[in-house]
Amino acid sequence: MIKNQLLLLTTFVVCGLSVHAQLTVYDDYVGGGHSEDILISSSSNFTDPDWSDNSSPSHTIDGEGLNGPEAEAARFLYQAALGGSQKDVSDLAKTLDFEQWIDDQINLPPTNFLALTRQSYLAAKQRYQDLNGEQSEYLYNKVHFQYAFWQATIARNDLLRQRVAFALSEILVISTDSDIRNDGDGIASYYNVLMSNAFGNYRDLLEEITYHPAMGIYLSHFRNRSTDLENNVYPDENFAREIMQLFSIGLFELYQNGNLKSDSNGDPIPTYDADDIRNLAKVMTGFGAGALTEEGILEGRELDFNAGARILDYTVPMAMYDEFHEPGEKIILGNKYIPDGLTGEEDVDMALDYIFNHPNTAPFFVRRLIQQMVKSNPSPSYIYDVAQVFNDNGEGVRGDLESVIKAILLHEEARDCLWKELPSNGKLKAPAGRFTQIARSLVDKENNSKFWMTGYAFENETYHLPLSSPSVFNFYLPDYQPNGEILNNDLYAPEFEIHNSVTSIGFANQANAWSRQDRIFSITDLNYSVPLQRSELLEMAQEPEVLVNELDMVLCFGEMTEETRNTIINALQTIDFGTSILESRVEVALYLTMISPDFAIQK
């Protein structure tokens, strides 16, 4: 800082300067913090022949740093929520109290996805019938969950809980691409379980998904029977295998920092074998319908073990029918003993306890959650720190998700801006995440109340869509390594598994539709579309740099590189012909930002 040098800058008073302000002369520089409520912006090197004052670049406020808090808030909000609205960002920027923000979020009432899905169906049906006649048929199906999902994304404010539930849906996977009955209830009810347990306990979460009918259908333990030697029928092993392999322990023994343990030959150590699966499969028998659908009741059907999938009420937990549960002792995970003589529920309880308490569960789960929210390659100490919190939240409780989420988001490795500078830090934003950020910050919320999307086009173009995974292994694997530098550096980058010659172009084409066709949500059958909020952007388009700065802050957390900025600004400046200059500039700026790596990569 150079003191005692009077720097005369060309200053522009932007916000109110109170008339009665004292005229004190300071001898450091404008913007030195002596006056409140004055926003100073300036340029450097300005000389105007008519003016007697000139400026020099020392202490020129060039725009960097002024928006530091906003950038930091935006970055946090992407990690915690896949982005906030511009108001969310500026509110948070005022305090940067991330822990408070988390606490406030935790106290918000959770969105009820089952109710919202059913409401969305009724509202859409009304709309459809208004267009096609009162009697036209419009059936309840899985798209109505998709409508609810995006409705909640834009219009509901429990952002953190939604983010966690979505992350959980990519770990404890179920999918509409399955035999789950094609109405919205099954998926929506399951999603409610993820929502209600997002800040709860992992042990409860495991139990609730075990008993959920949608999971019972998805991994086929619904109506799973005990062994019948006479007929060569054995318990279905599907759920037993996947609850260990994907939902808790994983294939190999881990240290608490996530690293693989190895045996004396240097090979990884399996956590379970085929016998364990067979035994756990015996535990997972006897699940049947907890309630029938209206149709089933009207048909006069019995609520018993034989009630099949067609009349299964997906919104009521499955019941345990002991007559069909495999009796006898079971030994799982090598030496974990479940004695003879217990009820089915007691068997399941003990098994889930063993699985939950396995030392692998903490590093296995937290690594995946960190990969979902913050970065693809958490350091061993980051994983270790968060795993410790999973193991004991400080009050003797294991599996406390609220504490785990705080540990993930408030950890130095997530918050410290120095990490951004590492070329290997960060991750590719998954397509639905990129879309969420775009929609939240740019959709016209003032003139619209519904925010629906079927997702068909989005899924075809990006290979990603909430709750639509092609298999229980999710859209991308935690250990995926694209060829090239990422693989060569022994790093992981899951989201790149669906970034290929279809989807890299496909997402850009979606961005093209959003920017050019001025619609971010649209459904042809319902004659429905929601545009972007453009009026502010159009005004800014008169000055390309202003527009680009705005999109930089809104979409790139102020991280847009100099080269990208220049490319876009130059392109905009060249658009100075034709009848719709401002509209064209906004379209091009939006498109180029949305396809740029500065937006796609989360640092």
């Binding site: 029928v233 054995y234 292994f473 060829n483 290929n500």
Partner: protein, 466 residues
């Protein structure tokens, strides 16, 4: 000296890089033109093989219950099947008989929903490989039960087995598939496109160490919308796109993101142009995914000369075979699709005159348990696979057909069959036909010599004298 007030807007014109700074990129399409020039130069190096061959890999993911696809028809073998499969067994009268020389003295047929596959088989265009599965080395039941011989990693686990069928290395957890390794050897020089084309995105089979996969959509729309169209500000936008994509990024995620996009853009343009030159097929393709995907593959094969490839691999993932539940109904839904798609594909290849040059083969995570779990079957091991093409010695079933009795020599508890032909042998034969040398074969399939040490074709389903 009061500071002059200026509006916000005009202030912004005082940029650090004021004025219309020169665009960083070169003129429109110049980079694309350069890439094309490179590509056409590489076409001159055509004389590598002197002929064209393609491998088409159809993954039936989930573990297809192939014991209900190739089914015993003769009396005593059918009775074994019926007893073991109990409520999963297809009635004998419904099994469509295949016309073939007996295998281990047994006669077989196919599932009633596979009539066109039966026709392809009987006319010599399709063969079955019986009881094939992943193996590191031969193993007996006693050895398995006493854990004295190594078995494939993660036996019975989807994620491991589906990998092994694509890598051909069941003793490793490799991510590089044998299709990719072959492509690495061939070093195909088209810069924009890969000789590996996938209709199902990234996959292990085509994942080489240096070679890449070119994914396409079956629907035939390619490329960036609006790119290359000369109107309005499109050209300005295109220049900016080129500029962003051509930049060198230090950040490895940005670099990976952009490289993929750049190659995809250029590859898409080239592919689209080439496909436009392929005449429409007179073969009618059904309306479902697998048929649409195979139709696109046939089209790409039709464009092989324009694209400049002598060797190509194709991959398509036909999902949803993990039938723990409702297997009879599920197969009734899916088998007709598979049946139609294979027949339509063969027909289109015949139209193109390349049916001898294209070999289609099926893989799946595993065969399923012979025994029932109520209304489905569970993960098992040995299963049956199909190979189709003009160079296939069709109309025959290869390998061995062991007893399906529960206590039999190769039957593990729960109705799991130990394979009698290894996936190494199956793949090695396809690779040999494709033109991979003897030494490279053993490199790619390190376990092969545990089963076959000759220099010919390990199994015999491919025609060695084309």
């Amino acid at each position: 000296m009061s500071p002059k007030r200026k509006s916000v807007q005009s202030r912004r014109t005082f940029l650090k890089n004021s004025g219309c700074a020169a665009l960083a990129s070169t003129t429109l399409f110049s980079s694309l033109i350069n890439m094309k020039a490179l590509a056409s130069a590489s076409l001159d190096k055509k004389d590598e093989f002197g002929n064209y061959k393609a491998l088409v890999c159809i993954l039936l993911s989930g573990g297809a219950d192939s014991h209900n696809m190739l089914i015993p028809k003769g009396a005593s073998e059918y009775n074994e099947y019926l007893t073991t499969r109990s409520n999963l067994a297809i009635p004998q009268s419904q099994v469509l008989p295949l016309n073939h020389a007996p295998l281990n003295g047994k006669q077989f047929g196919v599932h009633p929903d596979m009539p066109q596959i039966k026709n392809l088989f009987d006319s010599g265009k399709l063969a079955w490989i019986s009881n094939v599965g992943t193996l590191i080395e031969p193993i007996t039941k006693a050895e398995y039960l006493s854990n004295s011989v190594s078995t494939p990693l993660g036996l019975f686990s989807h994620s491991d087995q589906i990998k092994h069928w694509q890598t051909g290395r069941p003793g490793e957890r490799s991510s590089h598939g044998w299709g990719g390794r072959i492509a690495d050897l061939i070093l195909s020089q088209n810069d924009n496109l890969s000789m590996n084309v996938s209709l199902s995105g990234n996959n292990f089979f085509q994942n080489g160490e240096t070679s890449s996969v070119f994914s396409i959509k079956p629907t035939g729309d390619f490329g960036l919308n609006g790119y290359g169209i000369d109107n309005n500000y499109n050209t300005i936008r295109d220049e900016a796109i080129n500029s962003i994509l051509e930049r060198d990024y230090a950040d490895i995620y940005k670099k990976t993101y952009t490289n993929t996009m750049k190659k995809s853009l250029e590859g898409n343009l080239e592919m689209e142009e080439a496909l436009n030159e392929v005449a429409p097929f007179s073969t009618q393709f059904s309306d479902h995914d697998l048929s649409t995907q195979l139709k696109m593959i046939a089209k790409v094969i039709g464009a092989r000369d324009t694209l400049g490839f002598e060797r190509q691999t194709f991959f398509v993932n036909f999902t949803g075979w993990d039938h723990h539940d409702e297997i009879l109904e599920s197969q009734q839904e899916k088998l007709p699709m598979l049946d139609a798609a294979l027949a339509e594909f063969m027909s289109a290849l015949e139209e193109l005159g390349v049916s001898d040059d294209v070999t289609t083969f099926t893989i799946s995570d595993f065969g399923r348990t012979l025994t029932s779990n109520g209304d489905g079957s569970d993960h098992a091991w040995g299963g049956n696979a199909m190979v189709m093409g003009g160079s296939v010695n069709g109309g025959a079933i290869y390998g061995d057909a062991p007893s399906l009795e529960l206590d039999s020599e190769l039957m593990l508890p729960r109705g799991v069959l130990i394979p009698t032909t290894s996936s190494s042998e199956y793949f090695a034969e396809l690779a040999k036909w494709f033109g991979v040398s003897q030494s490279d074969i053993h490199e790619i399939f390190p376990d092969l010599s545990n089963f076959y040490t000759g220099t010919g074709y390990p199994v015999g389903f491919m025609n060695q004298n084309p």
